[in-house]
Symmetry: C2
């Protein structure tokens, strides 16, 4: 800790010294001084608690292969799994494990399916940098969508390192997608997911286009890892402010690289912002003002609009990466999922 | 400069020391270290030039009355006025000065008015913290809207300190609004403006509601000064990063206070985020990832959605406050105004 602080002080002084020389020079990097950032006043107590958490413990770990990631993923998953039963109860949903054409998945069914949602099915791909949130740990967002939106959701428990590397997660997601569209009218389906799940959502549509498969009627990529090459202004501006991802050089970058396993990170399958969005279904994007992937999200929004795609953006006040899928009792969480549900309801046929 | 740097270094060290104690404490302010922020790679050269400008000269001036603001406003206006003829030429519009029921205004007419826009009229209220951009200096955004969107625009050159204080600007805007709705079907009108003009746009609809006047068919408040009480996370997170407004305690705060002249800043007329948005027309909001008013904008977006209003948000990559109304040759500028024009075209009747 002392060592880290010394380095930080050194960096701060270097930055200030550089600022002294460069302050008036156009195009030079802007030297932004250190600042103390309180929890914003205009959020709910529940969201304030999440925003006020210290930087994620071990944000700067760098596991170099799937075997090294496994204990990290297990520890995180165990903590998350404990929260799932309470969520299931509060959200009035039920969860069944299943296998779809060999791919592990969960079926999440709300106790009350509204009449207009009776034949609709949503496909969910969870987040976690392609290495985290195996099994039930990937469920919270699926539960929120099912509970707040009254939709039936199929959540893909895709393969991750060390079990398999790229394109295993993508393949598993596509296997489920194909199975769903064999039994459900695609115009009654949507795909959604957050972070790596947001990138997978976009990649699934790109792949469905390439492979001539049906497209969903709408998608909801939440704060997508749309650029794993670290291009995007908020990678810098929100570094050390986003208390979840913390830094473009943190754990999540390593997770994506381990999954990519040497595959080109600029391939739209791994950085979908570089994909061709022509013909995409209506898209609703979610991010937060402190999100390290704020730029990744708004860049996708703009590119979709340039491709003529209907695309709606919502940005949560004070929220870091994916904090809208943490606490189902936060009114901000409900608002995000009700907005997505409204968007899906508008674009899916009955 | 040396003195400022010493203070900044002291503050940085204090912040780091505080961080040392508070790092693991939930709810404590987050200590964000100093950082060097380059111009992002994923913007056009024109926008990169604007983003790469040093912090606005004299951002920390604090003129205390209208007389003290006047020379500041004049100097700024003189620089801006020089850019207007080039904009008029490139955008193929013409500008006439006029007076509408005693209020100074400009009529901006594009050389080509599309058939669907023939009977449509937009009302523009310029920005500038209620003290800047008198006369032609307030025109750029009106020119962009007329040029890119092919709409006829009436731009209100409202009274500002020292000529008059609150509610003079609001009154002038409402006088023009009433005049326009006497001759134009309100379903064929929209109101737009940026910064103080974004706040005025929202305040005009609040006042029209209160006074039982017709509402426009759509509005486009750009990065509205929707909260002059300094609530909003980005007032902190984007401070010293936004190179236009720079700080919640900078020049713009003083400008708003001089205009308010002691009137309660929490009045929705001056902080429209606290207004009742029920029944508002469809609204398109614009901001940027580095904008000091990013939170002011996303909070309005959420409140509109909670009131059941159709509301669309666009966020410019890397942009500080209102940088989309600087350079008509930047593709990002065109994209913003084409998006607004598309929104207006969708919601205004022919």
């Amino acid at each position: 800790m002392i060592g880290k602080m010394s380095i930080a002080i050194g960096a701060a002084l270097a930055a200030l010294a550089a600022g002294f020389a460069a302050a008036q020079q156009q195009g030079a990097p802007l030297q932004v001084p250190a600042k103390s950032v309180p929890v914003p006043a205009d959020v709910s107590p529940q969201m304030g608690k999440i925003i006020g958490l210290p930087l994620r413990a071990n944000w700067d770990i760098h596991p170099k292969d799937g075997a090294a990631w496994k204990p990290v993923a297990e520890a995180g998953a165990e903590a998350l799994r404990k929260l799932v039963p309470g969520m299931i109860e509060r959200l009035h949903v039920k969860v069944e494990r299943t296998t779809i054409d060999g791919v592990r998945a969960f079926i999440v069914t709300p106790d009350v399916v509204t009449p207009e949602n009776r034949d609709r099915v949503l496909v969910h791909v969870h987040g976690g940098c392609y290495v985290l949130n195996p099994g039930e740990a990937g469920l919270p967002e699926a539960l929120f969508m099912a509970g707040f939106g009254h939709f039936k959701v199929i959540s893909v428990d895709y393969r991750m390192p060390p079990e398999a590397v790229y394109p295993a997660a993508h393949d598993d997601a596509m296997t489920v997608w194909k199975a769903v569209t064999r039994t459900t009218d695609p115009r009654k389906t949507a795909i959604f997911g957050t972070s790596a799940g947001g990138a997978l959502t976009l990649a699934m549509v790109l792949r469905a286009k390439q492979e001539g498969l049906p497209l969903p009627a709408a998608i909801a990529p939440g704060t997508p890892m749309s650029d794993t090459t670290k291009v995007g202004d908020s990678f810098v501006t929100n570094a050390m402010l986003d208390n979840v991802l913390v830094s473009p050089d943190g754990f999540c970058d390593d997770g994506a690289k381990v999954y990519a396993d040497g595959h080109d990170l600029k391939d739209p399958m791994l950085s979908p912002v570089y994909g061709d969005f022509t013909g995409f279904p209506p898209t609703i994007l979610t991010t937060g003002t402190r999100d390290l992937l704020l730029s990744n999200t708004v860049r996708v929004h703009r590119k979709l609009r340039e491709a003529g795609v209907e695309a709606f953006l919502q940005v949560g006040e004070g929220q870091s990466h994916a904090q809208y899928i943490r606490d189902d009792t936060a009114p901000e969480t409900r608002a995000v999922f009700e907005e997505i549900a409204h968007f899906f309801d508008t674009h899916l046929t009955h």
